[in-house]
Subunit: 371 residues, 4 copies
Amino acid sequence: MFVVMRSEATEAEVIGVKGLILAEGLTPFERASAGRTTIALVGEIGRRRGELRAMLEAAPGVDTVTPISKPYKLVSREFQPEDTVIRVLDTAIGDGSLTVMAGPCSIESREQLMDTVDFVAAHGATIIRGGAFKPRSSPYSFQGLGVEGLRHLADARQRTGMPVVTEVMEPSQVDIVAEYADILQIGTRNMQNFSLLLACGRAGRPVMLKRGFGATIEEWLMAAEYIASAGNPQIILCERGIRTFETSTRNTLDLTAVPLVHHLTHLPVVVDPSHATGKRWLVKPMAIGGVAVGADGIMVEVHPRPDEALSDAEQQLDFEGFAQMMDAILAVHEHVKDLHGDLNRGPGAGRSDGSPATDPVATAPAAEPAS
Amino acid sequence: MFVVMRSEATEAEVIGVKGLILAEGLTPFERASAGRTTIALVGEIGRRRGELRAMLEAAPGVDTVTPISKPYKLVSREFQPEDTVIRVLDTAIGDGSLTVMAGPCSIESREQLMDTVDFVAAHGATIIRGGAFKPRSSPYSFQGLGVEGLRHLADARQRTGMPVVTEVMEPSQVDIVAEYADILQIGTRNMQNFSLLLACGRAGRPVMLKRGFGATIEEWLMAAEYIASAGNPQIILCERGIRTFETSTRNTLDLTAVPLVHHLTHLPVVVDPSHATGKRWLVKPMAIGGVAVGADGIMVEVHPRPDEALSDAEQQLDFEGFAQMMDAILAVHEHVKDLHGDLNRGPGAGRSDGSPATDPVATAPAAEPAS
Amino acid sequence: MFVVMRSEATEAEVIGVKGLILAEGLTPFERASAGRTTIALVGEIGRRRGELRAMLEAAPGVDTVTPISKPYKLVSREFQPEDTVIRVLDTAIGDGSLTVMAGPCSIESREQLMDTVDFVAAHGATIIRGGAFKPRSSPYSFQGLGVEGLRHLADARQRTGMPVVTEVMEPSQVDIVAEYADILQIGTRNMQNFSLLLACGRAGRPVMLKRGFGATIEEWLMAAEYIASAGNPQIILCERGIRTFETSTRNTLDLTAVPLVHHLTHLPVVVDPSHATGKRWLVKPMAIGGVAVGADGIMVEVHPRPDEALSDAEQQLDFEGFAQMMDAILAVHEHVKDLHGDLNRGPGAGRSDGSPATDPVATAPAAEPAS
Amino acid sequence: MFVVMRSEATEAEVIGVKGLILAEGLTPFERASAGRTTIALVGEIGRRRGELRAMLEAAPGVDTVTPISKPYKLVSREFQPEDTVIRVLDTAIGDGSLTVMAGPCSIESREQLMDTVDFVAAHGATIIRGGAFKPRSSPYSFQGLGVEGLRHLADARQRTGMPVVTEVMEPSQVDIVAEYADILQIGTRNMQNFSLLLACGRAGRPVMLKRGFGATIEEWLMAAEYIASAGNPQIILCERGIRTFETSTRNTLDLTAVPLVHHLTHLPVVVDPSHATGKRWLVKPMAIGGVAVGADGIMVEVHPRPDEALSDAEQQLDFEGFAQMMDAILAVHEHVKDLHGDLNRGPGAGRSDGSPATDPVATAPAAEPAS
């Protein structure tokens, strides 16, 4: 349920509504949307629905009170019709530009990272990726360089001016990773690690949430809701393939998820064709496909010498492959970007008046933390 | 295994090689490729492999004898590096143009079909689709107009000059459907109906083979091999979504299958976003995605009044939706078509010399029927 | 919807009700249940539901008119609460005894079949299985002995007195297979070959319908409804594993399907652990599991020398393995059979009064053929 | 790779071998098996394999050095042929007895827990289950009583003398949960939460590892290997259903996993039919099935008034349902337990001489912790 305040509502009236919500043991989340203040109330509402609605409709300054039909509330497009735009250093995700996250699967050495970063920076990447803490199926495989890897990442940011995204594997790592990285990545195996979701939600950094390879789209959005409910609306979704009976690719890339989540939520979504296909030569066509269906960006693994990589050797692009992919996706993005406005929002979603979107991240006050 | 004849081989030498193959109880299939005659031999080879190879290498006019590593032989790109191009009436599938198959899910009446056909013809469709015999989960649902529907299709072809594709459900229907239709469609539930595959393989018409919703890509290509082994190399593959745990779409569209089958076979592949998504508003973005990853065409369901449709009401486009989709995919195709040459063929596949492909259908003599 | 006649209803009244149904363009199917005549009406009912019900309730001899909530009607337990028992030669399926269908995957020679049949007959098998027409993924694999195989099967029946089940692959084969076999098998790849379902439904022989490896339980029961709607209520279901992401077994055996279909339908169900697991040493434990959850029988592949088999070499039992499995499952069946009465019927299903079931097949007049 | 010492090897020789292994940067894990000391060495072995083997074969007291073919080492039956038996308070898991873990999904109040515990204790349960920290798809659902719930569990143990199993959701919770609970449960969504696996591996308590609903059997055993590699060999596996396209049950219970993991590992495995089916009336038949295929135990949810439960209301048994299930599974276990010896071990596994198994947990010295 969310409250839309009148355009002339006073700050005191907004505070009054939030007080009423808190008094009911629920949490208010405030956004600015189309020049109005909207306040979502979340928590265990249960049978109080009718009663709450009547009480809020009667409060001073309130225009309308609207239920949210989906199980996810804060991340739903019903609550926030405008796209979320996430700004990190000099780049933005979700503003219509094409985000390209590129770098090695694992950071193996300072040289390997810097060589890669220099190349991808020169060829159009906008964000550096690289694994410092690595989730591996086997306890006996290379587990990443850890904090040393984080330091290399920070150096790479310094060198290029590009922001850095890297994976965090447990709540107690959140602080150290947030110290070095600009965006916290939650991996596919941890999509329903609820403690980690909440910890990242409290870290004050944008979070990239990969879809669980066995998770439905609804579960994915519920996982995003965990992050948002902890006070962090800056969430990037990442489709990276789901597990099916097909064995000729590592996973089955579910590109239909892109227009679907654009319709259901206001969050940006990027596509990871490296993990989805598991085959280097399929990365370029599927990156093109991702851009074509309206993804806000692409995440790919790049390595100076993929055959010597300590992890994911089969799927990392070499430099030439990355350059070729970039040429292709930049051209395709140029041609498809105007198709996206109405393309991915589905029936009844988005702005009916065609007015330019307010950037909700830039204008909204910080959301209330979940106590 | 296949034999490549010397460029100067005589017709008598070709006949001699085919005779040797027949004498071993195997079937020879002849193709022209890059100016040479190649002859595949298929059947139960088992342990005779080495012996056969030696015998054929010694035969007059033979240049090389090469094993085929895949379980599918005639449809593999190893045997035929050039793309298969299928020409029907005035259109071609697989020649780099964009095929658009459009029409109603079921033919419900003459008027419904003609209204639809007139509209899609005026907006860029190249082939008419429409169900006369309908496979339905329930015996109590509308089963199609049958032969009456076929007659309407033939009239629609007459009216527009466009070829017609329609489903055939059992071997005994092949003759009557082949009398009225230009392309025989084998539906997803019949992908491994081997009797039907063989019957269609003998019908002398191009066949469109939909992927089984529970079938791997390898099984799909083996099903195509059944058709080819019956003497018919004119096969169009159609990706229409596979069954997974995800419930927010009817099926999961496996767009990665497009570059994969382009790499593994020489057959054209079209994408059906209507059945894959089951939601009208997802058809356009996923049609764009299909074109972007290199599909040779798109198949969509269109109905004058989708909400009144006797089948698949949720997923059929209305006229305006079709027109919007066409605008989008024609523009995207224009921009991505030059990316396809090297894009979808994978490592080691396709022509290394960049020479223009010979059209194998136009120049090859009719393949030997399987006795 | 079905009509229950009064216990004192006359034959004329029954004929009258059937006439009313036929006059509406629907098909009546008659069963005797608990001493009363019940008549299902099936076809496209649509919006006439209320009207039809009122008309039938007013007809002479009618006691009650009840809707059927499921999309399958004739095979639903709502329509027929008593278990279907199928009697073939001297054996019965679904009467509480343990059916064991055993024999080679493919009939390779007369000797191979007779050796196997003699052994399994001496160790408790009740039905002979053996493939004469074989659906194979590859057109170049052994396709079965065809009619010669059918003749061997008929000889095996003659020799042992046991009935024979074998696969039929297309409508035009139904007559010849029905001439030699007692039970027609529809394979997993043909579960939604609707033409074949209808042809088997008209053949006057019991039909064993394997679950499609990509089919839901509801689709499986709808396929059974096709057979029943063609006039044949003698249907045996066979669970043989579904396709999932797990690769350590050939398929994933869905044993939960056994109590589910016992709850939803009145049809007997057997379990095929050979195809489900694809591994010989897993056949015995999973056959035990199938019997334990209440299956009416087990179907297994047995070969004198499995390693030399022309098909499914990995999964066929040798003679010793079969004998060990039989010892185990006969013992388990003895101990679990009394658990089945209430076990598999779920909430609200089955007979509330605990009265002994009438055998509907033995007492019911032949069902009306679908015209 | 593992070393089997000679039966007359001295303690000094054992220490010598372990020293050699440590000097190579690898970790030695010691077990007693059939009266001999065996020592596994794990870590990144890579290309040193041949060299290491030669060095160890030459060391004093060494009998044989054997490679382990599977990616999991310590949990493989190759390394430890005898079944692992886990003893907690007065009960044992994996010793041939039937373990029954029963209790509410969530602990909702002291009374609800004690009522349930008293009933299940009186009807044959051997271990108490109950959720204190609850992983919920929605951040707005009941999240469990937390530490208060743990205290109730400890009281329930006090009251009944039965051990307690409960879920731990993050590494920082391990200490507090291990303080109150006897067995730490890792839930399906955390199966590849590698930080949590390692933390539980170091906690000195037996761990029950649920299979991820999207995880293969091999990934499940690799997750167990993480726990073992941290020094904890006391692991119970729990099959609870996997995610497939079938929608009539919550998950698809993969009972074939039971004989498979018995063949591949020495760990006990229990079956959870509550979460697998999601339907109360299917719990009993599938519990029977689990026992029949050789599971070491069953885990079920029981609630005094399931319809009022705060979580999983559809699938919790009421008291009568639990009592009926117990009657059935105790009877079945009695009849099938002698079938298990050879049943579940597959080809080449287990003891060839039929000698009674040594209890490796009781006799083996504590495994080396991974430093």
